[in-house]
Point group: C4
Chain length 210, copies 4
C-alpha cells in the first residue's frame, strides 16, 4: 500500500461525521446567537424609551426572521447528517463553504434591519439564504453520489429529502425578482410566508409519494 | 413501506437527543457569555474610574441576574433531557423557539441595566424570562404526551418536574403586575427573591409528595 | 419509593458528567475568544498605524495574559473532571458560579488593558482570577466529600490536586496587597511570574510527595 | 506507586483526546464566526448604500480569506487528531498556544480589512497565519515523538502529513519578504493563490510518494 493510500485510509476520509457535525452546530449556534449583538439598546431619555423600542421593530423582525430561517436550515442539516455516515475532504469543504455564508448572517440581518425598505438589502438577504440552502442541497447530492449515506437510504428517500430541501432557498431566490418588480416590502412578505409555505409544499409532496 | 414512512423512520424522528442537547447547550453558553459584551469599560480620567465603576452597578447586577436565571433554566433543561430520550420535528421546533428567546437575553439584559428604574424594561425582562420558562414547560408536556420520555418516568415524576419548572417563570410573570402597581424597584426585588423562593417552593412540594 | 426519590434517581443526580463538562468547555472557549472583541482596530491615518499599534501593547498584553491564565484554569478543570465521575445539583451550582466569573473576564481584561497602571483595575483583575481558582478548589473539595470522584483517587491524589490548584489563585490574591504597597506595575510583574512560579511550586511539591 | 505517579496515571495524561478536540473546535468555530462582528453595517442615506457596500469590499475580502484559511487549518487539525490518540499536559499547552493565535484573528482580519494597502498589516496578518500553521506542525512533531499517535501511523504517513501541513504557513511566511520588496498588494495576491497552490503542492508530493 502506498503512503498516500495509508494516509487516506487512516486520516483524510472516515466513517464518523461526529466532529464535522459538532463543528457545524457550533457555527450555527454562534451565528444565531450573535444576531442579537447588532440590536443596540437605545440611548434616549426615559420618556422616549417606548417610542425608541417601537422604532426598532424592523430590527427585531429581521432578528426573529433570521433566527427562524437558520433554525430551519439547521434542522435540515440535522436530518441530512442522520443519513450521512461518512465523509471526504470535499464534503468537509462544501460544508465549510455553507458555514461561511451562515457566518455572514449577523451582517446581512443587520443590513436588512437597518435598510429593510431598500431593494438592495432584500437582494443581498434573499441571495444569502438561497445560497445556504443550495449549498446544503449540493452537500446532500454529493454525499449520495459518493455513497456516503447509510445503505438504508433508498433513491426515493434521497429524492424526498432533496425536494424538501429546495422549498426554503427556492422561496428566497424567487423573492429577488419579486423585489425587482413589486418592491422590497412585497418580497419580505413572501419570506414571512416561507415557513408555512414550505410546510404546505412538503405536505403536498408527501401525499404524492405516499 | 411508503417513502415518507421510510424517511420518518430513518431521518426525521429519532432515539438520540444528543445533537439537539448539544446545540441547545451551545446557544445557552453563548447567550450567557455574550451578556458581558454589553458591559463597556468606562472611558474616563483615572481619578474618576472608581466612581464610574460604582455607577455601573445596575449593569453588573443585571449581568449577574441574567447569568444566574439562565443558569437555573439551563439546569432545568439539563434535568428534563435526562428523561427525554427521543425527539420529533415538533419537539425540535418548540426547543428552537425557546432558544430564540434565550438568544435575545443579551439585549433584554442590557435594556434592564440601562433603564432598570423604568417599568417598561421590567415588563420586557419579566416577560422574556417567563416566556423561556413556559416554553420549557410546554416542551416537557409535549415530550410526555408523545411518549418521548424514558419509560421509568412515572406520572408522579412527570408532575413533580412540571410543578418544579413553574416556580421561576411564575415569579417573573407575577412581577409584571407588581411593577404596574408597586413600581420597577419592587418588581426587581421579587426577582432577586426568585432563587431562594423557588428553592423553598420546591422543598415544600417535595414534602407533600414524599 | 417516593416520587422525590424516583426523581432524584432518574433526573437530578447522575453518573455522567459529559453534558456539564461540555457546557463548561463552551463557556471557557467563548470567554477566551471574546477577549479579542475588546481589541479595536485603530482608526488613524496610515503613517500613524505603527505608533497606534505600539500604543495598544498593554491591551495585547492583557489579552495574552487572560488567555494564558484561563487556559491554565481550563487545564485544571479538565484534570479535575477526569477524576469527577458523578454530579449533584450543588456541584452544578458551584460550577456555574465559577463560570459566571469566567464569563466576566472580557470586561475585566479590557479594564486592565485600558487602566493597567491603576491600582483599582489590578485589585479587580487579581480578585477575579483568585475567585475563579478558589471556586474551582471548592468544587474539588465538594466532589471529594460527596464521593463523586473515581474510587481510584486516593486521599494522597486528592490532596496533590488540591495543593496544585492553589498556586495560580494564591499568586493573584497575594498580588492585591503587593499592588497596595508596591503599586500596580509590581503586582502585574508577579502575574507574569505566575506561570513559571506555579510550575516550580508544583515541581517542589511533587518532589516532597514522591 | 508514588502519589505523583498515581496522579499522572489517573488525571494528567490520558488516552481520549475528545475533550481537547471539542474545546479546540469551539475556539475555531467562535473565532471564525466572530470575524463577522467587525463588519459594521454602513450608516448612510439610502441612495449611498450601494456605494458604501462597494467600499466595504476589502473588508468582505479579508473576512472570506480568514474564514477559508482558518477553515483549512481546522481541516488540518481535524486530520491530525484522527491520528493522535493520547495527550500530555505539554500537548495541551502547544494546542492552547495555537488557539491563542487563532483567537486573535478577528482583530488581525479587521486590521487587514481597514489597512489592506499597508505593508504593516500584511506583515502582521502573514505572521499570524504562519504562526498558527507552524504551531500545528510543532504539535504534530511532538505527538509523533512522544508516541501519542495511533500505532498504524507509519513514519511515511507522519512525514506525509508534516509536509502537507507546511504549504499554507510557508506561503504566508514567504509573503512577508514579498510585501517588503513588491508591496502589500502583490503579497495579498500570493495569499489568494495559497489555496490552489497548496492543493497543487500536495498533489505533486503525493505523486512522488506513490
Amino acid at each position: 500500500m502506498t503512503t498516500y493510500k495509508k494516509y487516506r485510509q487512516l486520516i483524510s476520509t472516515g466513517g464518523s461525521t461526529e466532529r464535522l457535525v459538532f463543528f457545524s452546530d457550533a457555527v450555527f449556534a454562534i451565528a444565531m446567537t450573535l444576531l442579537v449583538v447588532e440590536l443596540k439598546v437605545p440611548q434616549v431619555p426615559h420618556e422616549e424609551l417606548g417610542a425608541a423600542l417601537v422604532e426598532m421593530i424592523p430590527e427585531f423582525g429581521s432578528f426573529v426572521l433570521s433566527f427562524v430561517v437558520v433554525g430551519m436550515i439547521w434542522m435540515s442539516h440535522h436530518r441530512k447528517f442522520r443519513a450521512i455516515t461518512g465523509y471526504t475532504q470535499t464534503l468537509i469543504r462544501i460544508n465549510l463553504l455553507m458555514l461561511l455564508v451562515v457566518a455572514s448572517l449577523p451582517f446581512t440581518t443587520s443590513l436588512l434591519g437597518r435598510y429593510g425598505d431598500d431593494r438592495l438589502s432584500v437582494y443581498v438577504y434573499g441571495a444569502t439564504i438561497a445560497a445556504i440552502g443550495f449549498l446544503m442541497s449540493a452537500l446532500w447530492i454529493y454525499a449520495w453520489h459518493k455513497k456516503l449515506v447509510s445503505p438504508e437510504v433508498t433513491v426515493d428517500v434521497f429524492r424526498y429529502v432533496l425536494v424538501q430541501s429546495f422549498s426554503i432557498p427556492g422561496i428566497f431566490l424567487l423573492s429577488i425578482p419579486v423585489a425587482v418588480f413589486a418592491g422590497a416590502t412585497v418580497a419580505e412578505i413572501t419570506w414571512i410566508a416561507a415557513v408555512p409555505v414550505s410546510l404546505i409544499i412538503n405536505r403536498i409532496y408527501r401525499a404524492t409519494t405516499a
